[in-house]
């Protein structure tokens, strides 16, 4: 007997339709993604959108309020806040994405190791616990204090500060995946440990990592702004949002607009990244829940 007529066939949906359906069901992805895309375009085309060289000092036109020529006004050195804010987008995105990528890759590697090797787990996770006991900002400040101020170092410092949380997440996922029958089935079929990791564990960590990555990205942008604001982040010569705010701090009462514009940009950027992350979590989690 072959008896297969009982099992219904599921019609495969064309890929295009599936993408559209997911997007319609998760407007957060659309909204967050769209805003983030616009911000990314601003960052890429900053030289064309900026009206004035962001570094150009013109003492004669200091502290101008927003007006026709200077949309966001000028700061105490006569630099155009609009142009500086646009260029600041670049720093924020580079740091956010860079730190997220670094923390994700590092966390994935550490998480796989700790999830599979017992003695390494004991040692590495204690180190991670130690790192986690220090507030991320404080840790980043400490790391910046012992290195030179540069965007590269900011990214590394923030990534190290974010690393423990990603590692913990991956470790948890790996530990629960290890006990899944399909991993045992793979072992029973003669698959080696390395191959099991690559083919069976790794692809299953992608969804939670993607979501966590966006949160790390948002958090890294804020940390970068904080570091720059207190003068421990991006070198002051580069216009980052934190730097702009920091420079205007002392003249906040007369020129508050200088602080407001970059902070609004920062808020919108972080919000869009978080929206995107939330949307992805909503879209990916049901499948995750069914799997685990």
């Amino acid at each position: 007997m072959t008896a297969t007529a009982l099992e219904p066939t599921v019609a495969a949906k064309p890929a295009e339709g599936r993408v559209r359906r997911v997007l319609r069901r998760h407007p957060k992805i659309v909204i967050g993604g769209t805003i983030l895309l616009l911000i990314a375009l601003v960052a890429i085309f900053a030289p064309y959108l900026a009206t004035v060289d962001p570094q150009k000092v013109s003492p004669a036109r200091r502290m101008r309020w927003p007006q026709e020529l200077y949309w966001f006004g000028t700061d105490m050195m006569g630099r155009d806040v609009w142009s500086r804010t646009l260029y600041g987008t670049r720093v924020s995105l580079v740091v956010g994405i860079g730190a997220a990528a670094l923390a994700t890759v590092g966390g994935l590697a550490l998480g796989l190791i700790t999830g599979f090797i017992r003695w390494a787990d004991a040692i590495l996770m204690r180190i991670m616990d130690g790192l986690m006991s220090i507030p991320a900002v404080l840790l980043a400040i400490a790391l910046m204090a012992i290195t030179q101020a540069s965007i590269q170092n900011v990214i590394i410092a923030i990534a190290i500060a974010e690393l423990p949380r990603v590692t913990r997440l991956v470790r948890g996922v790996v530990l629960s995946l290890r006990e899944q029958p399909f991993v045992e089935a793979a072992t029973a079929a003669g698959t080696g440990l390395a191959m099991t990791m690559i083919r069976h564990i790794l692809p299953n960590t992608v969804a939670p990592l993607l979501v966590q990555g966006t949160y790390v990205c948002a958090s890294a942008m804020i940390t970068e702004a904080i570091l720059s604001f207190i003068g421990a982040g991006t070198p002051p010569i580069i216009p980052s949002w934190g730097n702009i705010m920091s420079e205007a701090r002392s003249i906040f009462q007369v020129g508050w607009y200088i602080v407001v514009f970059p902070s609004v940009f920062l808020s919108i950027t972080v919000l869009s990244v978080n929206l995107l992350g939330d949307g992805m979590r909503d879209a990916l989690d049901p499948r995750l829940a069914r799997r685990m």
Binding site: M1, A3, E184, A189
Partner: protein
């Protein structure tokens, strides 16, 4: 007579946990001949799965440790092999079907790649050849439209189809021994029947020996040629299927048979015959049991059973049992049957 395909010889596998030693497998001996179907029955926790898993050395160690015994597959003791040699055997010579078809497949890989994995691994096929073979295997296990199904993900298949995929994976390399660990427990009854039919059909075609682990005596009667009954980490009875059902010699086997509901054993008659159960629970395997492990639950138990452990003996040709009262058990069964 040629040597059996697989011989498990006085296997003792103990788990060393924080709360003490658990004697999960405590001196089990059985064998499987080439092409034969052997059923291993017993209730949960009697060691039937662990014994079978130790054939593939899937029991994590620690906490598990092989205290003594041998597992000889085609004359080689599997417990002496290193991991690389073991990996070569797994999936190629001996493969396994698991209980949970819903979770035994990787949700993010297509069915074709999962079937192909063993082929790439053991037969050095390239991805393309493996996929072609996967289509063939799907066709063999009776999945319609195999060319399309091969590219689908597990969540697109029903439970019965997934179990068919598992069988296809297990048989892809033409293993000599297939261990099926409760392959139908998670499926509903009609699908169960289909899967059992399929296994029987494929067995005759592929010629693999099967160790069928189950707690369902109905499945045993339908599939197996020989049966091993396990209780508390030991073999308590072994016989051919016909002998076992015609003349059980261990009270535990008798109890298992008594606890099957029969069609027509209605509950609406005036004095409804209550479905017999085996009183009590499985003993803890942490403590050394001086006498027969089943004695506290056994209606035939005498004072001797609590003191002395009955050894397994051949009471009739090919029929082994570990019970002092085996003849009384058999006699009572015969009386009840007539």
């Amino acid at each position: 007579m040629t040597a059996p395909l697989l011989e498990i010889d006085d296997l003792r596998l103990h788990f060393y946990t924080r709360d003490g030693v658990v004697r999960a497998v405590d001196g089990v001996t059985y064998h499987v001949k080439a092409g034969e179907t052997l059923a291993v029955v017993g209730e949960s926790g009697c060691g039937k799965s662990v014994t079978a898993q130790s054939v593939l050395r899937l029991v994590p160690s620690p906490p598990g440790r092989y205290v003594s015994g041998q597992i000889r597959f085609q004359g080689r003791n599997l417990l002496d092999l290193d991991m690389a040699e073991m990996r070569k055997l797994r999936g190629a010579e001996i493969s396994m079907i698991f209980q949970e078809p819903m979770t035994s497949l990787n949700p993010v890989l297509t069915v074709g790649r999962q079937i192909g994995e063993t082929l790439v691994l053991h037969q050095g096929m390239d991805q393309k050849a493996a996929e072609a073979r996967a289509v063939e295997m799907l066709k063999l296990v009776g999945i319609p439209e195999p060319e399309r199904r091969v590219r689908e993900y597990p969540h697109q298949l029903s439970g019965g189809m997934r179990q068919r995929v598992m069988i296809a994976m297990a048989l892809a390399c033409n293993p000599k021994l297939l261990i099926a660990d409760e392959p139908t427990t998670a499926l509903d009854v009609t699908i169960q029947a289909q899967i059992l039919d399929l296994m029987r059909e494929l067995k005759s075609r592929v010629g693999a020996a099967i160790i069928l682990i189950t707690h369902d005596l109905g499945v045993v009667a339908e599939m197996a040629e020989r049966v091993v009954v396990m209780y508390a980490g030991r073999k308590v009875e072994e016989a051919s299927v016909d002998d076992l059902f015609a003349r059980p010699r261990h009270p535990y086997t008798l109890g298992l048979m008594g606890s099957i509901p029969h069609l027509g054993s209605s509950l609406v008659h005036n004095a409804p015959p209550r479905l017999a159960e085996i009183q009590g629970v499985v003993p803890s395997l942490r403590e050394e049991i001086p006498g027969c492990a089943f004695a506290p639950r056994c209606g035939f138990a005498t004072e001797r059973c609590g003191r002395e452990r009955p050894e397994i003996e051949e009471l009739a040709p090919g029929h082994f049992a570990a019970c002092f009262e085996a003849e009384r058990v058999a006699a009572q069964f015969a009386e009840a049957a007539s």
